[in-house]
Structures are given as C-alpha cells and as structure tokens.
Amino acid sequence: MSNLVLFLLLLVLGYSFGRYAEQRHYRSIIRREKEYSDVVLTTVRRPAPGVELTGSELVAGSVVISVDYFKRFLAGLRNLIGGRMTSYETLLDRGRREAILRMKQQAKARGANMVFNVKMETASISKDGGSALGSVEILAYGTATTVTIRE
C-alpha cells in the first residue's frame, strides 16, 4: 500500500512539475524565437553566387533535458502497446528548439546574421541507466557568418 502511495505521489509530482516546467519553457522558446528571428539558419553548406560573407566561425548550442516521472511512466505503458510516444514528442521538440536558440544566441553575440551548414545531433545520456530517469542531450551546430547580399 505504501508503495502505491509513493508511486502515485511521484506520478502527481512528475505530472504537475513537468507540465508547469514545460509550459514555461514553451513560452520562453516562443518569445526568444521572435527575438532571434534576425539570425537566419540554413542547412546549405555553401552560399549562393553573389552572396558576400564576412568571417566564419563555428557556433554550437547544446541542451540537456530530463524526462519527468509521469512522462516516463506513460512511455513505459506505451512501450507495451505500441504507437506514437507522444509523451516524448514535446520533450524532444523543446530540446531541438532550445539548442537552436542557444546556437543563434551565440551567433548573434558574435555579430553574425546567418548560420550555414546547420546540423543537429541527439544523444541519450542514461542509455543503460536501468530504472533511472532518462535524459537527452541535443546539440545544434553550424558556421556563423555575416552575409551581405548584392542585388
């Protein structure tokens, strides 16, 4: 019985704190995406002809996000039945956008207005952690530069 109470407590804590943190994070992401919208990203490796570059520097943004107890439990149940792991979708969406924002922030701090050759990588930090809560690292990197376009 005490096991069940502990489990429910963890579930409620995970749900309420996780949800609060997620909503706050999304608000911050949306606000900062507007703020950094003047830094333009592209996965293209080389600029098009007629585009003049000033400087080129590696910029990287990395973020580590932990899954909460509730999400993890939901995913555990989903594992048995199959289907979309919806509880992890928002986690990774937040991670990707946050990593990109940090990269943009770095680029802007160096006076760049564009990042070429943007790439992303994801790594699970607690892969063999057994019953420990999992966390994920998301890394975004690219070449920051200042672009002048001649019409």
């Binding site: 949800r19 098009a48 439990f73 939901l74 555990g76 048995l80 928002t90 990774l92």
Partner: protein, 277 residues
C-alpha cells in the same frame, strides 16, 4: 538570392491531446489485455489441474511442512483438529488419494489457509474467535473444499506463469516501475477468480457441515462476528475489487440464502470446543 526562416506554426512536431487522457486510455487498454492473459491462464490451469496427480502436489511442498514444531498442548489440539478434519473429509467426499494435514500456528492472525498438497494451516487468532465446533467445522470444511477443487494448485500454477509473463514482457522494455504496476493490475484482474473460489468453497463447506451434523447451526458464526468487527473498523473498508475475498456481507447473505432454500435446520444446539489451555 534571399535567405529567410518564416515562422512555423506550433504543434507540427507534437501531438494534441491531454496527457491524463492518454494515461487513462493506456491503463484501460493494458487492463483489458491483462484480463485476457489472466483469464486464459486461469482456464489453462483449471483444465490442467485434474491431470496432475495429488501425489505430485504433495511432493512439491513436502519439505516445507516436514519440520513442524509441536508442544504438548499443541499436540492435543492438533490431534483434535486432525480428527475433525478426518470426519469432514468423509462428509465432503474427498477422493481417496487426497489427504488433508492440519497445521497449527501460534499467531494472532484470524485466518486459515489451504496450501498445495492438502496442507491446511489454522491460526490461533481464528480459534480464539470461534465459539463452537460447528463454526470451526465450517471454516475447516471451507479449506477442505479448496483442497478438493485443487484451488491452491490452480492459483500456484497460474500465478507462476503470470509472473513469468510479466518478467518477460517488462524485461524486454527494461522498466521496473511499469512491471510492478502491471503486476498489480494483473493481480486485481485475478482477484475476481479468487473471490469466485471463495464462494464455491463456502457452498461446498455448507454442504459438508450439513452432511456431518445434519444441521447448519453455528455455521455462519465466524462471518457474523467478522462482519460486526469490520463494521466497527472503518479503516478496513477496501473496495471489493481489490480484495481476495468477497465482502463478508455478500458471503453471509449467500449462505443464508442456501440455508433458507434447502430448509436446513439452523436452530439446533451447537457443540462446544474442547479446552486446550
């Protein structure tokens, strides 16, 4: 050439729907699956049990019961209990190859348990609650009915296989918490069968007691006493679907229904329990 990053609408990479709703759906789906698993395991166990000789069952638990400590007063008490059990096994028409062995535990628990191999354990707490031999005979006949219907073996068999299934399923997903929750859900799904067994054993026991004494006086004494205590104790109110035994009120009503139906006398004098202290 112009480079631009237009604003992308929200919700493309994430799914709509409330997480709590998803949790409920997953629980319901899982419970449904578990009910199917438990039900088929039960069916298999019930089907297989008659093909397993009783001697195998006895050998399975033989070592566990071989070293019972007995004090002087316990020896007298035990021989009385064994004598009563012998008469009840005859009254219950137990097959010849089945034997019942009574064990006594000097513990305050108000309980009696039927184990595989025809071993029945009676606790001191139970004896203290009983006023008459007839009430004791009812409890004992109830446990003998479990033995006769091979309930301990069926429960052991399906329980072991169920644990194996859970271990395999959650072992592959590597999640201990989910495993425990599934185990609990499965047990709840299983409890319906347990309650059914209790009702069957109650009926059989009533028949056996009637066959032995020619009346059923005192047969439902224990249930009445326990029901009274349960009503005084609010903390013991766990919903029925989470219990191994049906609620006492239901059991008592069923028993009284049978007694009325058969018109069995229940106002005859009862036999006193011998004093062993």
């Amino acid at each position: 050439m112009r480079y631009e990053n237009p604003t992308v609408p929200e919700g493309i990479n994430t799914s709509r729907g409330h997480p709590l709703k998803r949790l409920l759906f997953l629980f319901a789906a899982l419970f449904f699956l578990l009910v199917i698993v438990v039900f088929s395991l039960r069916l298999m166990a019930v089907w297989a049990a008659p093909y397993i000789p009783f001697a195998y069952e006895q050998r399975l638990v033989g070592h566990y019961f071989s070293q019972d400590k007995k004090s002087e007063s316990h020896a007298r008490l035990l021989s009385y209990l064994q004598w009563l059990a012998q008469r009840l096994t005859k009254a219950a028409n137990l097959p010849d190859d089945m034997t019942v062995t009574i064990h006594y535990r000097d513990e305050p628990m108000v309980n009696a348990v039927a184990m595989p191999g025809g071993h029945i354990v009676i606790y001191r707490g139970l004896l203290e609650r009983l006023d008459s031999e007839n009430a004791l005979a009812m409890v004992m006949a109830h446990e003998i009915a479990h033995v006769k219907r091979r309930h301990p073996l069926i429960n052991l068999g399906s329980g072991v296989v169920f644990s194996l299934v859970i271990a395999v399923v959650t072992g592959s997903t590597g999640d201990a918490v989910t495993g425990r929750i599934i185990g609990q859900l499965g047990r709840i799904a299983d409890l319906g069968f347990s309650r059914e067994q209790e009702l069957q054993a109650d009926f059989d026991a009533l028949y056996a007691v009637h066959a032995l004494y020619g009346h059923v006086s005192g047969a439902d004494d224990l249930y009445s006493v326990l029901l009274q205590e349960a009503e005084d104790d609010l903390s013991s109110r766990v919903p029925e679907f989470m219990q191994t035994h049906p609620v006492l009120k239901k059991r008592l009503e069923r028993l009284r229904g049978v007694i009325r139906e058969r018109n069995w006398p229940d106002d005859r004098p009862v036999l006193m329990l011998p004093d062993f202290n």
